[in-house]
Symmetry: C2
Subunit: 201 residues, 2 copies
């Protein structure tokens, strides 16, 4: 096959490395960009460069931010007494979308996973304990909102055990049947959990 | 919802404008890029900028190229006497992949489509006639390889009629049952076409 444009080929190759983008989608995207205005493509390219250049981690909660501390940690209107512990910073976005939670976050940056050689010291557990030990902002409740898989469970149990030494209420979000579905389509593990966690009507 | 990084948000918005990329995939791509090395992201961004800056159209065949004329038109090993007419430059890539065709191409840049106000003068038909009139590179055969839809058919008929005035053999690629499939799954239009175009065994 004779390639008529190395530049096009290179762009397709680079795009094909993105997650969820095969060679065909990469080709479609490259051809789409070729037809766009110069400005449009420069804006896209610049937004990616800025993404790497300007984005930092919040030194308090560990989420992605442009300014440190992040807009949630520096928001005086949010409760300081409640910390929601999540695995990754994208979980913060997901929970924020519900508008349900008005406290602060703590991003672990992963879960304890012996198989992947990730121990308690490799995720931000120490930083969580430091926040709890800080008397300037007393914490009454820690809500664990980790993923309901083996690693998430193990990490939740580990943190819960550590927090027994602190004067703090540890809760976890409810796991059960998702809304708007039918029992027929629910896997057994979820259904068992929903029974075990039943509440009075 | 509180956004902790405007820069991340902007990158997601820009990525979500790409074809086949919704907000969720854009988010996944942005998060993936955040975890990549600076170099990797700069390479991607640069490849997109170069795409707009350096890519041109070949003045002979109309395909996408870095140098004019393109590597196919300037390849002395390829037959000059056979021109394959296609709708878009990506068709050149598709045909080149088969390694079946060793002649030259002519990219129309579209099809005649009265509904979209695209007439014969809006696609590169005039340029095709000029190539046929050029005695330096005599053309014996023009292969029409347009898409088998209404516009492709109409454009093929139009070009065929024009070429009656030229001393050139006009052919078209075969339309019929695709390889490796079963008759059961073939639509009626294709099946009718396959019968009408049957060849002796």
């Amino acid at each position: 096959m004779q390639i008529t444009s190395e530049v096009l080929e290179r762009a397709i190759e680079e795009l094909a490395k993105l997650p969820g983008t095969g060679r065909k989608s990469a080709q479609r995207i490259a051809i789409h960009l070729l037809k766009q205005s110069d400005e449009r493509v420069l804006t896209l390219a610049d937004s990616l460069v800025q993404l790497k250049k300007s984005v930092k981690r919040c030194s308090v909660c560990g989420t992605i931010t442009d300014e440190d501390p992040c807009s949630i940690c520096s928001n005086q209107k949010r409760k300081t007494g409640v910390i929601c512990v999540v695995e990754e910073f994208q979980d913060v976005y997901i929970i924020e979308k519900t508008n349900e939670f008005r406290g602060r976050y703590h991003v672990l940056g992963g879960t304890i996973s012996p198989l992947d050689n990730i121990g308690p010291d490799d995720i931000r557990i120490k930083e969580l304990l430091e926040r709890l030990a800080n008397d300037d902002e007393p914490v009454e409740e820690v809500i664990l909102a980790l993923n309901p898989d083996a690693e998430g469970e193990a990490t939740s149990y580990y943190i819960n055990k550590l927090l027994l030494n602190y004067d703090v209420n540890v809760t976890r979000i409810a796991y059960g049947i998702p809304m708007g579905t039918e029992l027929e389509f629910i896997d057994e593990a979820t259904l068992s959990r929903a029974f075990a966690s039943r509440t009075s009507f």
